[in-house]
């Protein structure tokens, strides 16, 4: 059997951290291989070595049976290897065709028409749906991804690496991507796909290769694999894969959002008269394609985003509706805290808003509480205890609680953030994409933590993107589309298709759908 690519004994270290140790794996021609592993298990590092971003410390890479040197992305292109990174490498103000032309060799003539012709042929062959004259900044995430793939194929890629391509897609878009992947496979291309979603692994791939803590843990044929088995290989022990959903106990109104509108700096209404209620002891899921107002919604409630006139967010401390209800709109985060409202917020941008990357866990623990007490000096003893506790309880992997949090892997950063927000004993807990980029093990830890808070009577707003999880975890699901509230569903009775449809089509104009 000839392999499209073969890795032999690859090792890569960063300082004292071993990202990959003695990893050997291979991809057959015309095969889709899933690369599975927990956060920080070295998947992306390994792929970056194939794509020429990093150079291995030891080991060798064989392409179609021949040893090759991949010293930079150009070498990778020459070997027929193309990688679509998690963060797209596109120029926003260029059109699709211009972006494709970027990869032309310096000696080649810049002929946009020829580029377009060749690109159009590729599109027809694999049934890509894209407008080559569209500017990138006007494209949706899914279109940008398609463009990246076309760019790689234009380059003559025989092996495509897709790093978490479905993390940002709706279920419908994911289906489209998978269809294209199958077309490419039928054409003899090989594909490596990194994803954390096990059902996708089972649906699309031929074989699954698993990394555990930087080491190769084995490859299995997908047809013989089950979710439980893959998780066990990935984690190294059995993991319970059920999301619990306790019945809300004695729910009462906690947060009443009425006519909440937000206009951004460009004058665009990003939130349009959103109205809903959140109850204690309930998880309210918020579904929607990324960028449909979720961020603004949470930030407006948290006092981080100015809301338009007539917006109202009223907070009710207990059953008594009128006694001490507080209007949160127009208040700063500190005002809200001073009112005694325990509002915890896990923002989407963990290191750009929730945490200070250059600071240690200890210093991050006091981000919201540093100002307590009269002393002009900070008190680090309580934060130190809290950091120790969170490290212990959530299993944060870090050399020390004094290491800057930016050095931790994504999953561990999230544990630190969620841990701190929960430790603040919230009465309202808002999370934005709490499990984005997290492996299955850590994700389930987060779900468990949320359920614990729910049982304590916390009102939880859970902005999520994985519809399966939203449906399994939440009590109600609010669907946002174009900044509008496009439906409130009972999570126990709804279906993925129903949610997916509401995410893409504004209800009132269903005929002229935009999807």
């Amino acid at each position: 059997m000839e392999y499209a690519i073969e890795l032999r004994h690859i090792t890569k270290t960063f300082g004292s951290v071993v990202a990959n140790h003695d990893v050997s794996l291979s991809v057959r021609k015309g095969e889709i291989l899933s690369l599975l592993g927990e956060n920080g298990s070295g998947k992306t590092t390994l792929m970056n070595m194939i794509a020429g971003i990093y150079y291995p410390d030891a080991g060798e890479i064989l392409v179609e049976g021949k040893p090759v040197e991949i010293r930079g992305p150009k070498d990778a292109y020459a070997c027929g290897i193309g990688m679509v990174h998690q963060h797209f490498k596109l120029i926003d103000v260029f059109t699709a065709a211009e972006n494709i032309a970027l990869v032309l060799d310096r000696r080649e003539k810049y002929d946009l028409k020829a580029v377009k012709d060749k690109a159009r042929a590729i599109c027809e062959r694999y049934r890509f749906d894209i407008d080559l004259d569209q500017k990138v900044y006007e494209m949706s995430v899914s279109q940008k991804q398609t463009l990246e793939i076309i760019k790689m194929l234009y380059h003559g890629a025989q092996l495509l690496i897709l790093d978490e391509p479905t993390a940002v897609l709706t279920p419908q878009e994911t289906e489209k991507l998978f269809a294209v992947m199958r077309n490419m496979k039928a054409d003899g291309k090989s594909i490596i796909i990194i994803t954390h979603k096990l059902h996708e692994v089972l649906a699309i791939s031929d074989r699954v290769a698993i990394l555990r803590k930087g080491e190769y843990a084995g490859t299995v044929e997908t047809c013989a694999a089950t979710e439980a088995m893959l998780t066990e290989m990935m984690v190294g022990k059995k993991v319970e894969l059920n999301i619990e959903r306790p019945e809300p106990v004695n729910p009462h109104l906690r947060l009443s959002v009425h006519n909440l509108s937000v206009t951004n700096a460009e004058g665009v209404k990003v939130l349009d008269r959103v109205t809903f209620e959140a109850f204690s002891g309930e998880i309210l899921g918020i579904a929607g394609i990324s960028g449909n107002g979720q961020k603004e919604l949470l930030e407006a409630i948290a006092g981080l985003q100015a809301a338009d006139k007539d917006s109202s967010v009223v907070y009710y401390p207990d059953d008594d509706r009128d006694s001490t209800a507080e209007q949160l709109i127009g208040k700063t985060p500190r005002d809200i805290r001073d009112l005694g409202v325990h509002l915890s917020f896990v923002p989407e941008d963990r290191l750009g808003m929730g945490l200070v990357g250059s600071m240690s866990m200890v210093d991050n623990m006091m981000l919201k509480s540093y100002n307590e007490g009269r002393s002009i000096l900070t008190d680090r003893s309580a934060p130190r205890h809290l950091a120790e506790e969170i490290k212990e309880e959530l299993g944060v992997v870090t050399p020390s609680i004094h290491t800057p949090v930016s050095r931790l892997s994504g999953g561990n950063v999230q544990k630190v953030l969620v841990g701190r927000e929960i430790a603040a004993v919230p009465s309202v807990l808002m999370t934005a994409y709490a499990v984005r980029g997290l492996d299955i093990h850590t994700s389930y830890t987060i779900y468990r933590l949320l359920n614990e808070q729910k049982k304590k009577g916390v009102a939880i707003l859970y902005v999520g993107e994985d519809l399966d999880v939203l449906i399994d975890l939440c009590d109600k699901i609010l669907v946002l589309c174009g900044g509008r509230c496009n439906g409130l569903l009972d999570a126990r009775s709804t279906t993925k298709e129903e949610v997916g449809l509401l995410m893409t089509q504004i209800k009132e104009q269903q005929e002229g759908g935009v999807a």
């Binding site: 040893p67 040197e69 941008d349 200070v356 250059s358 540093y370 002009i376 000096l377 050399p399």
Partner: protein, 370 residues
């Protein structure tokens, strides 16, 4: 396991993790030794002098007499104090390029008080007035760009830089008024010595030094242990995070710039009252810019700042001494000092990164083939 990699690059750069203290020390010592060797080659082959003799002369620039040492300490005090003043602003990622102007404003205010009130009020009151005026003037020069940045989002780099020229022109204007018909301003209150700092422990510049030492410790604690220092660090890292934490970003920016400017103003007070007893447009002497290097190299650790200031002053004095002792032109002596600085700064790279040379087996293979 590296078999098969026939064309592994000759040199690769790998980032180190946390470097142990011993390694840092070794790298730095090696850097100094290498610098001395490289310098010796330059001195011997280009100037034809004896390297050891030149090094001795260089050393003497700072250490030959108590007077020399005292001058070095005097200059170190000014440079270091400005570095300390800049630390909070830079830690907040507020590019305060205006220290030169803030120092000049402090110096101008001090001089004005000396000119108009010298001999008319008791000395204690005069000192207090000089101090208050200087701190206020410096703070004002810090407040203005801070306020504009916080309220209107103006670019602080251009703003603070331009404020320097305003300060220079103001000083030039006042000096012209005060000197009257004389060719130069000369020392202020030459006869009464009103507003001149007294000697302390028999040393002229001890007051300046004591204040600087005190501020090294205070600023270190302020940045590291105070709530305001924490706010500065958070704002510097990310304004979004600061807002999320409930910090009033604009207030922190303005407050920090007032502090930064006030300390620069204090430097102006110490320079005029404790060192020059006069004022000119070059009173700050470029220290406002050199101090930026001091603050950055030390990563805002005031104790490191003291070391780096000392190094810079030592090299400057040494270069001057070489130039006069051997009748070299300034460029040659500056090159000699520059080589040392280059090596010491360059050593930071080897503390953060590890070069991996790939000679070994494959190196020999290539040789055999050739």
């Amino acid at each position: 396991m590296a078999q098969g990699n026939k064309h592994e690059p000759l040199l690769r750069i790998v980032k180190r993790g946390e470097s142990p203290f011993r390694l840092k020390l070794l790298v730095r010592i090696a850097a100094v030794l290498l610098a001395l060797i490289a310098d010796a080659l330059f001195i011997y082959f280009v100037t034809g002098l004896d390297p050891l003799a030149v090094y001795t002369t260089m050393f003497q620039g700072t250490f030959s007499t108590p007077m020399r040492f005292s001058w070095a300490m005097r200059d170190l005090a000014s440079l270091l104090l400005i570095g300390i003043a800049l630390a909070p602003a830079f830690k907040m990622r507020f590019w305060n390029i205006g220290a030169e102007g803030q120092v000049l404003m402090g110096a101008l205010a001090t001089a004005a008080v000396m000119v108009y009130y010298g001999g008319k009020v008791p000395n204690a009151v005069l000192y207090a007035a000089m101090l208050v005026a200087a701190v206020f003037a410096g703070a004002l020069w810090g407040f203005v760009p801070g306020w504009f940045k916080a309220r209107l989002g103006t670019n602080e780099t251009l703003f603070t830089l331009m404020m320097n020229y305003v300060a220079i022109q103001l000083v030039a204007c006042c000096v012209n008024i005060w000197r009257g018909q004389a060719s130069g301003l000369g020392k202020l209150n030459m006869r009464s010595k009103a507003g001149w700092f007294p000697q302390l422990f028999g040393q002229r510049y001890n007051i300046n030094l004591i204040i600087v030492v005190l501020l090294v410790v205070l600023m270190y604690c302020y940045l590291r242990y105070s709530k305001q220092g924490y706010e500065i660090a958070v704002v510097g890292e990310s304004e979004n995070t600061a807002r999320y934490a409930g910090i009033n970003v604009g207030k922190v920016i303005i407050r920090t710039m007032i502090l930064s400017g006030a300390l620069c103003g204090l430097t102006g007070f110490l320079i005029v009252g404790g060192r020059d007893q006069t004022i000119s447009t070059t009173t700050a002497g470029g220290n406002g810019f050199t101090a930026i290097i001091v603050a950055w190299l030390a990563k805002f650790n005031t104790f490191y700042m003291a070391l780096i200031s000392f190094l810079l002053i030592f090299l400057e004095k040494g270069a001057g001494e070489i130039a006069s002792a051997y009748n070299l032109n300034d460029f040659a002596s500056d090159i000699i000092a520059g080589i040392i600085l280059f090596f010491i700064l360059g050593s930071e790279f080897f503390i953060n990164y590890k070069p991996i040379f790939h000679l070994g087996k494959h190196g020999t293979i290539t040789k055999e083939a050739a």
